[in-house]
């Protein structure tokens, strides 16, 4: 499978690769929100502990 065959995907390259990139995008979005949420939770906890202890 040469490179240009992969890209062209039998003429449907544009559609196939956009579909797959959107999938990776959605996966990334989910992962990103999970990690950002973890950071924010850590911040609130640190703030809470500093307040109460």
């Amino acid at each position: 499978m040469h490179l240009n065959e992969i890209i062209s995907m039998g003429g449907y390259g544009l559609y196939v690769w956009t579909a797959y990139s959107i999938t990776l995008l959605v996966f990334g979005m989910n992962l990103f929100t999970a990690i950002r949420e973890k950071k924010r939770v850590k911040k609130t906890l640190r703030h809470y502990f500093s307040q109460t202890s």
Binding site: M1, I6, M9, G10, G11, Y12, G13, Y15, V16, T18, A19, Y20, I22, T23, V26, F27, M29, N30, L31, T33, A34, I35, E37, K38, V41, K42, T44, L45, R46, Y48, F49
Partner: protein, 247 residues
């Protein structure tokens, strides 16, 4: 039996511990299935005689639609557990799964539209399954909107549980009425998206991708549930310890 469950899953502290043990396994399982499914699906599976390589979008569209439905089922079950057994962990699982499920439903719709363009010339076809997925997206938005408006945590969990249960009762009814509606208006053609009797070496990557999507859901679910657990148990001692040596 219930005690074992309580030990590992029901109590928030135990769930936190079990999830940290489970997460590495789930991540490896996801990466294996995803790698195999992606490579086999994109490069090694034979092209479809009708749709050529365009059919490879199936390896993304069908798993995301399947996972979207599966996540709603998980939400409904946790809804029942929240209402009947007052399980906090089920409430957390339910509200966290909602946003992940909405993402997957959106993904299923977008990939369905992208698949539809080269095959049938239009971005959107009122096919029975695609329409059911669209309605599923509305159910997800309804659930998330309801939960975002209720201030009190306990009422938010229970109201969401009821909405999930109402949704899961109506989903099969909606699905079959949409199929009935489809045959009424477009005649009994085979639904365009019905997976053709798929050759085994086309099928294996699809099963692997479905497994990969489900594992990914499990990973994100556990990650986000851990955040919610820590937030809800903020006053307990074990959260303090976990957070102190973690940060």
């Amino acid at each position: 039996m219930l005690h074992w469950f309580n030990q590992h899953f029901i109590s928030l502290k135990a769930f936190y511990a079990t999830s940290s043990a489970l997460l590495p396994w789930l991540i490896t399982a996801f990466s294996l299935c995803f790698a195999y499914g992606l490579i086999a699906g994109l490069f090694f599976a034979p092209a479809d005689y009708q749709q050529g390589d365009g059919f490879r979008i199936i390896y993304v569209h069908v798993p995301s639609a399947f996972t979207a439905m599966a996540i709603y089922a998980v939400m409904a079950v946790s809804g029942i557990l929240t209402l009947v057994f007052r399980m906090k962990i089920a409430a957390i699982c339910m509200s966290v799964s909602a946003s992940i499920g909405a993402w997957f439903t959106f993904l299923a719709l977008v990939t369905g539209a992208i698949w539809g363009k080269p095959m049938w010339g239009t971005w959107w076809i009122w096919d029975a399954r695609l329409t059911s997925v669209l309605i599923l997206l509305f159910l997800y938005f309804g659930f998330i909107a309801l939960q975002s408006v209720i201030p009190d945590q306990q009422s938010r969990d229970r109201a969401g549980a009821i909405m999930a249960i109402v949704g899961v009762i109506n989903l099969p009814i909606i699905h079959y009425s949409v199929i009935w509606w489809n045959t009424l208006h477009q005649g009994p053609t085979l639904s365009k998206l019905a997976a053709p009797s798929i050759a085994p070496d086309m099928l294996h990557p699809l099963l692997a991708m479905i497994a990969a999507f489900l594992f990914f859901y499990a990973v994100i679910l556990l990650l986000r549930m851990r955040n919610q657990i820590v937030l809800r148990e903020i006053k307990t001692q074990w959260v303090k310890e976990v957070m102190s040596h973690a940060s």
